[in-house]
């Protein structure tokens, strides 16, 4: 660091006021000193010159007038002359002495009261020069000795020496100097006063502004803003301050594209936004004050809005996650998430969002990382609590920018209860179906039991009667008993699996399986009703992600509806075409089931309403009208679709299509 830099650094550190003061002082001093020096040099030298000139003038006038006296050798006259000259008015202060010497250096006359000291004669006048000056000592004072030649014609006849009192000259010069110094001091003092006032005038507002700005930066807005104008606000006076919905039209550049509508109140004269008449400092103060007011206003609004949304985030009833787009980790999570998922907050932060729902979450994240825009809604996603307990949620995801990064805000609704209710409803429907089936099932189970019973009664009778049982009869009976037990057990298994509550997770289902299961339970019952089934089941169906027993419920609903439709148009004993045709098959990436009946068909107007809950075409008390609504719900759950193809009087085809299960087991509509 050179000296220059150090100085520069020091200069930047000192205050504006000092800078102003010092620079003004420096300027004034420099100018004063320069003026003083110049004028002193001019004045002092000209004064000295003037005095010397006077000295020389005296010397020359003595030389002029004394020449004749010297020639006449009239010493008294000469003496009178020099005394006259020396004592004339104020010359006595200036002239210390006058003496005249002739060519040979003899003193002809002098005005001193004592003997002329020899040293005064040292100022000899070289020939050819009219005069000379030399500083001499006279006793204890200094004198300028001026010598002037006394000429007569061309010849020099003597020399006049005039001693000028140096102290007198110095006194005059001193007076001059004092006058100058006084003047400069006065100028400096005036300058200091002026500059300090000026600098105070400029720097006080600036340092006030600085202080205020510092306070404001620290967030302290409750400081009086007395910036010269001497007035402060009462924020209660501003309608826009307490009402966040009211834009402040005086400041609001963000609404520059709008004009205040009639509905908005607009203050004709803003109580706060002011511009005074005045110089730049006043202007600066006003601007600053307005700026602070604006900051105060919008900061308050921002805080209110921030508090509002933060409280929404924190106290919202649903869990909300902020998930980083790039890494897929959770950046922020509200308190409800910890309650629902059972993880402490610090565990959640930084946890990959996939961990919460490995099956269903990737689709959501992929949607955004592949550049999907807007919000997406994912119903019925499976998530896991801490500890692996699964539950269902609806996810609502929107892209946001979170701390300068691309993120997704994901709101989650716990729909476990809903799903539970749904499951209960389906369960209740299944129970109802079980009730409807019970007669048929009882019959179905009774048949093998009856055969077993008869066979065993035969065996026990033969034993009691001690009769020989022919070997082939015995074998026949035993085999039959075994077969019938298996048959009964199978029916019971089917019933069990039908009645069981489904798991949360779907399984891979071959659509033929639920069809066969339902038929094993109801086929005989239908046949007793003289309704024949025609099965056209394709082999090698793609599996579908679903719950087998819910699909059984669907098929049961459809075949019982088919039976009712058939019974509406023909009678069990009356013959007629009484068939239910069930087809399954693959159709590109879909797997379908069709249930066709030879009933009376469905009215065009009813086809729209048939899946609505509580819509029934049956007599009051005959049907709840929930069967098809539940059927529809179940099919939709598996991403399937159901369509009706029906002509009045021509029978009905219900066609269900399900997406074939893909490799990841993700089935999405």
């Amino acid at each position: 660091m050179t000296f220059k830099e150090r100085m520069a650094a020091r200069f930047t550190r000192i205050g504006l006021r000092e800078k102003l003061l010092f620079s003004m002082l420096a300027a004034v001093l420099f100018i004063s000193v320069a003026i003083a020096l110049v004028s002193r040099w001019i004045l002092v030298s000209s004064l000295t010159n003037e005095l010397e000139m006077r000295g020389f003038a005296i010397a020359h006038s003595v030389a002029e007038r004394g020449g004749s006296y010297i020639l006449d050798n009239d010493i008294p006259k000469l003496l009178v002359l020099i005394f006259d000259e020396a004592r004339l008015r104020q010359r006595k202060d200036l002239v210390a002495y006058i003496f005249i010497e002739d060519q040979s250096g003899n003193i002809l006359a002098h005005t001193l009261t004592h003997k002329l000291p020899d040293n005064l004669r040292a100022n000899t006048l070289p020939p050819g020069r009219p005069d000379a000056i030399k500083l001499m000592e006279l006793g204890n004072q200094e004198v300028y000795d001026l010598a002037a030649a006394i000429n007569e014609g061309l010849y020099r006849i003597g020399t006049v020496h005039v001693g000028l009192n140096k102290r007198h000259i110095d006194t005059l010069v001193g007076k001059l100097r004092v006058a100058f110094l006084g003047f400069i001091s006065a100028v400096v003092i005036i300058t200091v006063i002026l500059s300090s006032w000026l600098s105070k005038y400029i720097t006080k507002p600036v340092s006030d502004l600085t202080r205020l700005s510092d306070e404001i930066s620290r967030g302290n807005f409750d400081i009086p803003l007395k910036l010269g104008s001497g007035e402060d606000w009462d924020s209660a006076e501003c309608p826009a301050f307490s009402n966040t919905d009211l834009p402040c039209w005086h400041f609001d550049q963000s609404r520059s594209g709008q004009t205040p509508a009639e509905t908005h109140r607009k203050c004709a004269d803003c109580a706060f936004y002011r511009k005074h008449q005045g110089d730049e400092v006043v202007q600066l103060g006003d601007s600053f004050r307005n700026m602070v007011w604006s900051i105060k206003l919008y900061r308050r609004r921002l805080r209110e809005s921030e508090e509002k949304y933060r409280s929404l985030f924190d106290s919202g009833p649903d869990p909300i996650f902020v998930v980083d787009c790039a890494s897929g980790t959770i950046r922020d999570a509200n308190p409800r998430t910890t309650e629902l998922y059972g993880y402490p907050r610090e565990d959640l932060l930084g946890m990959p969002f996939l961990d919460l729902g490995p099956e269903h979450n990737p689709a959501c994240l992929d949607f955004f990382t592949e550049g999907g825009g807007g919000c997406v809604y994912y119903p019925k996603r499976l998530h896991y609590k801490n500890g692996g307990e699964p539950f269902f949620v609806n996810m609502h995801a929107c892209p946001i920018s979170y701390r300068g990064k691309q993120a997704i805000i994901i709101a989650v609704t716990d729909i476990t209860e809903l799903i539970e209710k749904d499951a209960q409803l389906i369960q209740a429907a299944k129970m109802k179906s079980l009730g409807e089936m019970s007669a048929g099932v009882a019959h179905e189970i009774n048949q093998p039991l009856n055969a077993i019973k008869v066979g065993s009664e035969f065996l026990s009778m033969m034993r009691e009667e001690d009769l020989e049982i022919p070997k082939e009869h015995f074998e026949e009976v035993v085999n039959e008993i075994s077969t019938q037990v298996d048959r009964a057990a199978e029916i019971i298994d089917t019933l069990r699996s039908f009645g069981r509550k489904s798991d949360l997770m779907e399984e891979s289902v071959d659509l033929n399986q639920p069809v066969r299961a339902v038929l094993s339970m109801v086929r005989r019952q239908f046949e007793l009703d003289n309704i024949r089934f025609e099965l056209r089941l394709a082999e090698g169906l793609s599996p579908v992600r679903a719950h087998s027993n819910r699909l059984q419920q669907v098929i049961f609903n459809l075949v019982t509806n088919a039976r009712d439709a058939i019974n509406d148009v023909s009678h069990a004993d009356g013959g007629g075409d009484r068939r239910i045709i069930i087809r399954t098959g693959n159709d590109e990436s879909k797997v379908f089931i069709e249930v066709e009946d030879t009933g009376g068909g469905i009215d065009e107007k009813d086809q729209q309403k048939i899946f609505e809950p509580f819509f029934t075409t049956k007599e009051a008390g005959q049907g709840m009208g929930l069967g098809l609504a539940i059927t529809y719900g179940i099919i939709k759950d598996y991403g399937g679709e159901i369509r009706i193809d029906s002509t009045k009087g021509q029978g009905t085809v219900f066609r269900m299509e399900f997406p074939a299960a893909t490799a990841q087991g993700e089935s999405k509509a």
Binding site: E457, F458, E465, V477, E480
Partner: protein, 238 residues
């Protein structure tokens, strides 16, 4: 004895077992897998005894019963019903089925039903029916044999009125083991008993096979009369 019996059931395994069992009892067994086949076989073979399941496709047991009774009203038709399916049993009785057996079939019940049927056939050959009125110490006893049907009702009504007129503590209607009551008989009996209700005379029904007891309980006849087990010695004796 080599009686023909026709078994109608849609279950082939059951038919197989029946064939073995009934053959062991010494019957000649004919089988049919549904009502229509059964009626055809009946026409062809004319068996005196028919066992039929009720619930069958194509033509159910009730229809087959009607058709068989139309062809020969004297045929003993025993219907096989699912357990607790009393409505169907009563419906069958109303159509003059002579008896019913519950599924799963118990040998005892089958044997009893077969025995009763044979006895009824024997009675039917000798006399259509028999109602006998006896006066005992504390009760009037009406003995009933064979079939209680529309034809029997006037005689039973007469006997009942006489029994009530005796002013005994109780009237006991005693059914023989082989007795069978059809729908008309049940209706008539119910009428008699309900008319008598409140007259103060206690009425007992005795000797009913368990089948008919359950039918009576189902129909609520037991409100007017008390059911007795086989021997009601305390009332009838002495």
């Amino acid at each position: 004895m080599n009686d023909k019996v026709l078994v109608i059931d849609d279950e082939r395994p059951t038919l197989k077992m029946f064939t073995l069992l009934l053959s062991a009892y010494g019957y000649e067994v004919l089988t049919a897998e549904n009502g229509r086949e059964g009626v055809e076989t009946f026409q062809r073979e004319a068996p005196e005894l028919v066992l039929t399941d009720i619930k069958m496709p194509v033509m159910d047991g009730i229809e087959a019963l009607k058709a068989i009774k139309k062809l020969n009203p004297a045929t003993e038709v025993i219907v096989i019903t699912g357990h607790g399916d009393m409505d169907l049993a009563i419906q069958a009785l109303n159509l003059d089925a002579t008896d019913f057996i519950n599924k799963p079939l118990k040998r005892e019940a089958l044997e009893k039903a077969l025995t009763r049927a044979r006895e009824r056939m024997t009675i039917a050959r000798n006399a259509e029916w028999q109602v006998v009125l006896e006066e005992k110490n504390r009760a009037a006893v009406i003995g009933v044999r064979g079939n209680v049907s529309a034809m029997t009702m006037p005689r039973l009504t007469e006997a009942f009125e006489q029994a009530v007129a005796m002013n005994k503590e109780a009237v006991l209607i005693e059914f023989e083991k082989n007795a069978s009551i059809n729908g008309a008989g049940i209706t008539g009996l119910t009428g008699l008993l309900s008319d008598n209700a409140g007259s103060g005379t206690r009425i007992f029904l005795a000797g009913l096979s368990s089948n008919f007891r359950s039918v009576f309980e189902t129909l609520g006849i037991t409100r007017y009369a008390e059911l007795f087990d086989q021997e009601t010695a305390d009332l009838t004796g002495g």
